[in-house]
Amino acid sequence: MAREYEKNLHNEIYNLPPPEHVFPRKSRTIPKKTWKPWHKPRKQLIRSQQWCTQIGQLIDELDLVDRPLRYLSLPGEDLLDIRVIRRLCERKNVQLHCLGFDDGTYSPDTETELNISKNEVFQSPIIFPWSDVKKDDFAKISDENSQAYKEAKQHGPYDVINLDLCGSFSRTQEPSYYNALKKIIDDIQIRGRSQPWLFFLTTRAEIVEMNTDDLPHYWINLQNNVRRCDTFKARLDHLLDHRFDHINRNVQELQNLEQTKFGIFFALCIAKWLLQLMLSGSPIWKTEMLDSYCYRVDSATSPNMLSLSFRLRQVTESRRDLTGLADAQTTQNEQVDESALAIEALTKTESLVDIDKLLDENPALHNEMVKESEKLLDSARYPIKDYPSWADKKQKSLIRRLRK
C-alpha cells in the first residue's frame, strides 16, 4: 500500500513525457509538406463558390459595422478555410473572429504547423484579436461541462458554422455531432440572437460510413412528410426506387441503392433533421438549403462526399391584440409550411452539383481553381512548384473513374 502511494506521489510530479523537440524531430531539415485530398482544385471551388459566395452575401445582409463576423470551424493545421475567408473579409473590410477546433489527434509536428499558421493568420489586423484554435473535439460541445462547450459559448454566437468533416456526420463514435450541433443551436445560436446565420456541412455520404442506428430516426422524420404530402412521397419513391417502406426494417435495402441516390437521400435526411429541429421551438427558425455540392473521394466512381449549405433565419411573428384595442391592421405573419420546406429541401438535394463533373466539363474553371489553390497553398508554405502536376494527375485519375 505504502509503495503504491509512493508511486502515485511520484506520478503527480513526473506525469509528463520527457521534453522533446516537436519539429523538426528526425531530420534537421524542414519536412516537405505532402498533398492532401482537400488540396484538390474542387475543394477550392467549394471554398470559393460555396463558402465565400454565401458568406459574402451574409456579410452584406448583416451590415457588420460594429462587430466582427463570427466564424466557427474545424480549420486543420493549415487554417485554409480561415485564410480564404480572411481574404473575403479584407475585401469587405469586416473583422473576422474565428474559433477553430482541432481534436489533437495529429502528431506533434502538425501541432507546430498549427502554431505557425496561427501566427501567420492571426497577426493580420483583420482578424479579431481573441480568435483561437482549440485542441478539442468539436463534438464535445454537446457536454456543457466540457472545455469545448465553454470555449464555444465564450466566442459565440456565430454567423457561420462550418463543419468540414472527413468522415460522416452520422457517426458511431460518441459524442455525436447531432448533440453537439443541437447544443450550439440551443445554447449559443438562437439564445438572444435573431440575425440569420449559415451552416456548412461537409460529410461522407456512404451507407458503410454511417451509423445505421440513425436510420430509423431519419425514416420517421421523412415518414411524416410521406404521409402528409403525395408529391413528397412520389418524389421520394422515385429517388429510393420504391424502397422507402422497407428501409426502416432492413438496412440492406439502402445498401442496394445506387450510391448517387444514397448521397441525395442522406443529404435530404440531414436537411430534414435540421428543418424539424429549427421549427421545433419558439420563435421558429426557417432552414433554407442553399446551393450544395457532391464529389468523390478515395476510389469511388459515384459521389460519396457532400458539401451542404444552409441558411437559417428566424421567423418573426407580429403581436396579436386579443382585446381589439389596437385596431391598426395586423402585419401578416409569414406562413411556415413544413411540408413545403421539405419539398424545397428535396428539390435542392436532387439538384446537388457534382463538382467533379463540373470541373471536368469546364477546363477553364478547373484551371482557375488550380491557380486559386496554388495561391492559397503557397500562403500556407506548400511547395507549389509540384502542385499543378499533382493536381493534373489527380484530375486525370478522376476523369478515368468518371468515364467508367
Binding site: T112, I116, S124, W130, D132, K135, S146, Q147
Partner: protein, 659 residues
Amino acid sequence: MDPTQKKEINELAKKIAKNADAGKITTEELSTSTLVFKRITDGIYRQPSSALRELISNAYDADATRVVIETDAPRFDKITIRDDGIGLTDEALCWMIKYIGESPKRGWDGVKLGVVKKDDPKLSPGGRKLIGKIGIGLFAVSQLTKQFQIITKTRDSNHRTIADIVLATHSEDDIDKPEDKKKKKRPFKTGTVRIWRVPAYDKSAHGTEVILRNLLPRVRQELSSREIWVLCDPEQFILKGEEGELRKPPRYHIGCIHKDIQDRIQQPPKLPWDIKDSPKKKFEKLVQAVMNEYGLSKTNPSLEETLDNYLKLLWTLSLQVPVDYLEKHPFEITKHDDIMTFKLGNDKKSQAKEMVLGSKSIRQIMKLTSPERGRTQKFRVVVDGVELLRPISFSNMPITSHAISYPLLFVGKDRPSLDNIPEDIRGGRLAFEGYLFWNSKIVPKEHIGVLVRINDASGTLFDETFMKYPTSEQTRLRQITAEIFITEGLDAALNIDRESFNFAHPHYQYVSAWVHNSLRQFATKHKSIGKEVRESKQQKEWIHTMDAFERFVRKRLQEIRADSDFETMSVDFIKEPLDIQQKRKAGKLVFDYNQVFAEYVHGRRKTAKQLSEQAQFEAKVKAIARILDAFELFDNMTYERQQSLLSEIVAILSFEDKK
C-alpha cells in the same frame, strides 16, 4: 574544475605568495562562477505570473501595442503569448539563446541587435523606457515548462523564424567525481534549441509569439487552484478516507477540471462578469466585485478569500505590467474628484502643503511625467478575453465611521542631486514621482502598502511594511496605498528575479528614506486634519444641542408663565463689572460670571470636549436663572443675593466626589 579554472587559480595563488614574500598586497577583480548562472537558469521564480509578467515586459520593450494571452483555462494545457511588437531579428534571437540572462538591452549591443533605440540604449526603438531584460523571460518560462516555441517576425522580412526550445533540469548528480578527472568534463547543458525559417508573404506583419507547451503538472495545479479545491471537495481530489475541515471555494473562480478527465469541467466557473461583456467591461466587473466584498462578506476583504489563483493572477499581472488605470492615472485627478490633495516636500523638515487644483490636474500643476511610453502610448494586454487594467481607482471608496470622511492624496517628486557622492557608489542618477493615498478603508487589503514601479512596471507588489517604516502607528498605515514611479535609476537595485530589491543599494535606501519622510509629513497633516474635523464636528453638535435646549427652556418658561404679556428674558454671565452695571440699567438680567462660577473647577488648558462640557453647563445655569426669574424669585433680592443663590446652585451641580 576545468583546466582554465585550474590555471587561473594556480596563477592567483602563486601571485599572492610572491607578493606576500615581497611584502605587497595582491589586488584582483572578483568574478562569479558560471555555475551560479546555471542554477539560476533552472528557475528562480515562485509564481506562474512571473513568467507571464516577463514575457509581457519583453513585448512592451518591443514596442508592442497589444499582447494577447491564451491560457486554455481551466485546463492549462498550454499558454500562448502573442504580441505585435517589432519581432526578434535572427541576431537578437541568437543572443537570447546563447547568453541567457545577459540582456543586450540598455547597452550598445542592443543597438546592433535592433532591440533598442539607436541613439539611446535605455529606450526601446519606439522610445519607451525599457522595463524588461530579454534573457530573463527564459528564466521565468523554465518555471512553467521545459518546452516552448518562439515564432517571430520583423517588419518587411520575408520569413518567420521559429525556435523550438527544450530546457534541461539541473541536477547535482552531474557533479564529476574526483576519480573521473581523466574524463572530459561534461559541459552543463541548459537545453537545446532547433531553429528554422519559413517563408512569409505578409511582409508588413511583425511580432513575437511564445507558445508554452505541456505546462508542468505543478504549474497546472497551481493555476487551477487545485489546493483550494482539494479542501473544498476532498472526495474528488485525494484518497478516500482523508479527513479534514472543508473550506468554501472563493467567491469567484474559473471552476476546476475533473481530476482524471482533462477536458471535463468538474466545477462550473463563477465569474464576476458576463460571458458577452467586452474585455474591458469584464475587468471592470472583476474590480467592482472585489470592492463590493466590503460590506458583503468582510470589513477587510482580501483577494486571497475572494478570488481563485487564476483570477488573482489576472489581478497581479494588472498591477505589475504597464497598462492604463481602470479609470485614470492618479496624476490626472482634478478638483472634480473631490479628493483633498497635498504636495509633499523632500526635506527632512518639510511639511505637506495643500494644493488648490483649480481647473488643472495634479500632473499639470506639479509637472509630472510618468508614465513615459515614447511614441507608442497604447499598450493593451488581454488574457483570455479579459483586458488587464490597473485595478486602482480613487472614486467610490469605501466609507467608514472615521472622523475624516473623504480621501486624502499626497503627491511628491524628487530628483536628488547625488553629485557630491562618488560615482562608483551612488549607483547612477535617480528620479521619481509618487503618491500616498489615504482612505479610512483600503480594499482589497493586499493594496495596503507601497508599490514601486520602475518605468511604470513592477515585479513587486504592495510592500505593507512601507519599506520597513519604523512606526507604531499601525492603524494609520493600514489606511494607505501608495505608488512610487521611478523615472530614472533604481533598476540596478532589483534582484535578478526582478521581484525584490537589494536593500543595500543606495537608490533603494534613498527611495525608502523619501517614503518614510513622506509618511511623516502625511501623519502630521492627517492628525491636524483629524483634529480640525473633530472640533468642527463637535462645534456643530454643540450648536445643535444648544438650539434644542433653548427650545426646551422656552417651552418650560411658557408653561410657568402662561400670561400673555410675559417676555422670556435672556440671561448673561459677564466678567467685566462695568458692563454688568450698564446692562442692568438697560433692564437685562445679568450676573457676574466670576462670582457665579467660582465653584466650577477647571484648568486653564482645555480639550475641545472639556470646552463643550463647560458651555453646556453654563447654558444649564442660565436656564435655571431664567426659571427662577419666571417664578419671580429674584424680584425682592439684591443683585448680590441673586448671584449668591446661583453660585450655590453651581457649587451643588459641579460637586464631584474626589474620593
